[in-house]
């Protein structure tokens, strides 16, 4: 780690709110590969499942906003993580669904390039996963 990035890292730590809100998984979000990101959130060998549904356009006209809708039909789903495999920092988000929430989320993410988007759902002791490729294109000038 260079001196500058170490300082930036420490600065980031100091800037962390000492609020009541939940922690932020520095290690997983700082991971530069999908494998490390998954490791960082405790995922190992998740099983592919058709019950994890990713609804997103196959082609995004712009990588700055890629809408993704995710839901899990696996009973007892308590968390969902979104990993954009080719992003510089692949882990995009992790949602914890407590009693009262349905395992569903819709969000907009940035994608640097065409990539698989991997979703991992946590249900009981299970880890289930699905992926979807989203192509990022170069747009025109208009709109």
């Amino acid at each position: 780690m260079t001196r500058r990035s170490l300082l930036a890292f420490l600065g980031l730590l100091l800037a962390r709110p000492l609020s009541v809100l939940a922690a932020w998984n520095e290690q997983a979000f700082g991971a530069k590969t999908a494998a490390d990101a998954l490791k960082g959130i405790g995922v190992s060998a998740p099983a592919p499942s058709k019950d994890i549904v990713i609804d997103a356009p196959q082609i995004a006209e712009n990588g700055a906003v890629v809408p993704i809708e995710i839901s899990s039909n696996v009973p007892g789903t308590t968390a969902i993580a979104v990993v954009i495999e080719k992003n510089p920092f692949p882990l995009a988000a992790r949602f914890e669904f407590k009693e009262g929430a349905l395992p569903f989320v819709k969000l907009n993410v940035k994608m640097g390039e065409t990539s698989d988007v991997r979703v991992v759902a946590f249900a009981g002791g299970q880890q289930l996963t699905a992926t979807r490729e989203i192509k990022v294109t170069i747009g025109g000038c208009g709109g």
Partner: protein, 98 residues
């Protein structure tokens, strides 16, 4: 100073659909001319009880928009969404289910 938020919560057939908008630059480490500045935590509460806790990264688009679904929900239920970013700034919005 955090920019405005906007939220709509509607009850339909035993489910409450929550759509929340947040004003935030969500800058990334790749942007050379701008400091890294992004929301890290989002919490959703239903009548004071935490139902969703999210950790998010700089990969979430500028001016984040989320949709969530909550079980049950009657008109007038209180929904609260708050966020905190990497600089410790935060904002909260509360609305009644329509």
């Amino acid at each position: 100073m955090a920019g405005p938020m906007k939220m709509r919560a509607t009850a339909t057939g035993g489910t409450t659909e929550v759509r929340v908008l947040m004003t935030h630059p969500m800058t990334t480490a790749q942007m050379k001319d701008q400091p890294l500045h992004f929301i890290q935590n989002v919490v959703v509460k239903q009548n004071g009880k935490t139902v969703i806790e999210a950790e998010i990264s700089q990969a979430v688009s500028r001016n984040p928009v989320f949709s969530f679904r909550l079980k049950g929900g009657a008109k007038g239920d209180k929904i609260e969404v708050s966020w905190v970013d990497n600089k410790g700034e935060s904002n909260t919005i509360e609305t009644a289910v329509a």
